[in-house]
């Protein structure tokens, strides 16, 4: 009696023989721990990073070139520098205001304890943005600084002295930054003027929203939001954004508050990574 062994070629002819293993691999990847999944991503994407960097470099160069051609009557660079300076000064003012409010609170409580401001040494790594998230519903950027430069997971990323996100994946020469507008981002913050604690979360649009703001909270449009050191992940007093829309919907338990990030992330080209 002859037993016919299944031929590999015949096996492959069956579409299910391809669909099922591929879906099984996808499911396996889907349920991998996030850390492992990020490591796989960093390893797989490393060969593409130079191409990404080159494309981004060409894109930015071409963009600058066209800018100069289209508006020859304006000194684009000078304007850009001035805008950056204004943004930096505005943020400095917000920081100073925050410090003043803090000090006022401390005085009003008649604290008898002397609090020493420990100078935490923070080293700063400059990096250029070399890529953006390919999904419409996630917000992250890729920067050209990685473990070689000393970047670590959970390092804070700022631009113009404003918080824009934190490092979630580190490769050897590049890292992925989860932006404050990403749906998975949750940042402890404070309303500068009223000192109320808030949670700033992303919602995959250009704006953020504040979570769990009680109906009776004193909030008005234009109020500044700064980061809070609660939880120990973020440094305090970094500007995040300003309240843009503040409303109470029907029978909702909490207020619906929309926040406009201080920095327009789609327009920046470089960031600073705070490594401590």
């Amino acid at each position: 009696m002859r037993i016919s062994t299944p031929n590999f070629h015949n096996l492959i002819k069956n579409p299910l023989a391809i669909i099922i293993p591929l879906l099984a691999i996808s499911l396996l990847l889907l349920f991998l721990p996030l850390k492992l999944s990020n490591q796989i991503k960093a390893a797989c994407v490393t060969p593409i990073r130079p191409l990404q960097w080159a494309t981004c470099f060409c894109s930015n160069s071409a963009s600058n070139f066209f800018d100069k051609i289209i508006s020859p009557w304006r000194d684009a660079q000078a304007k850009k520098q001035l805008e950056e300076q204004i943004a930096q000064l505005t943020n400095k003012i917000i920081e100073q205001q925050d410090t003043i409010y803090k000090l006022q609170n401390k005085l009003s409580m008649l604290s008898k304890f002397q609090i020493e401001n420990k100078n935490v040494k923070t080293s700063v790594i400059p990096a250029d943005i070399i890529g953006f998230d390919t999904s419409n519903f996630r917000k992250s950027i890729t920067i050209n600084a990685g473990s070689k430069q000393g970047v670590k997971v959970n390092n804070i990323v700022v631009s113009n002295n404003t918080l824009i996100g934190r490092i979630i994946t580190v490769g050897s020469g590049s890292s992925v930054v989860q932006l404050i507008t990403d749906p998975a981002s949750r940042i402890p913050g404070r309303i500068l003027q009223t000192r109320e604690q808030v949670i700033v979360e992303g919602n995959a649009t250009a704006f953020c929203q504040l979570k769990y703001i009680p109906r009776w909270a004193k909030l008005k449009e234009g109020d500044d939001i700064v980061s809070s050191d609660i939880g120990g992940l973020y440094p305090p007093s970094l500007p995040i954004g300003a309240v843009m829309q503040n409303e109470i919907k029907g029978g909702a338990l909490f207020r619906s508050v929309k926040v406009l990030p201080t920095v327009n992330i789609s327009k920046i080209e470089s960031v600073l990574v705070l490594t401590n």
């Binding site: 579409p15 691999i25 996808s26 499911l27 981004c56 419409n136 519903f137 989860q178 250009a206």
Partner: protein, 166 residues
Amino acid sequence: MRWFTFFCILICISAFQSTMIKWITIGSAVPDLYFSLVVFYSFLTDIKRNTITNWFTGLSKDLLSEGSLGVNSIFFVAIGLLIWSIRGILYKGHLITQVLITFIFSVIYNIFYAAYVAVSFRSLNLLPTLWAIFVCSLYTAVIIPVLFRILGKFQPNQRLFSVGDR
């Protein structure tokens, strides 16, 4: 179908989507070039190649996107199979068919993906999300004629809607 060509196209699309997409972004409307590739190969190839190309397309999108690996590969394989299964009843190669199919399936894909994100993080708002889905799908559909023309040049020995290879 040439696999080498496919992988070159995929790398180019990945590089473009992750770096230069802001050049063709209009407001909140961002075209999804990966999805166009899924529709193109679902029309073009047989079920096996369609599954493999869509899986690789989804995986490369996952690699360059924040979040878990494998989500887009599953969605793209499923969408690819859906398009492949109905392509026989479609009006062959007509421009409007290509645009409409892309728009409808892009809306379906984006709804599923948004639902996945909403379930995972509970932080999406309904109206802005629906608006984003609509404009992104519309933009993806609008660029289809140009993109299919370019992609068709790289796969010249295949024709769209070649039902014979089913």
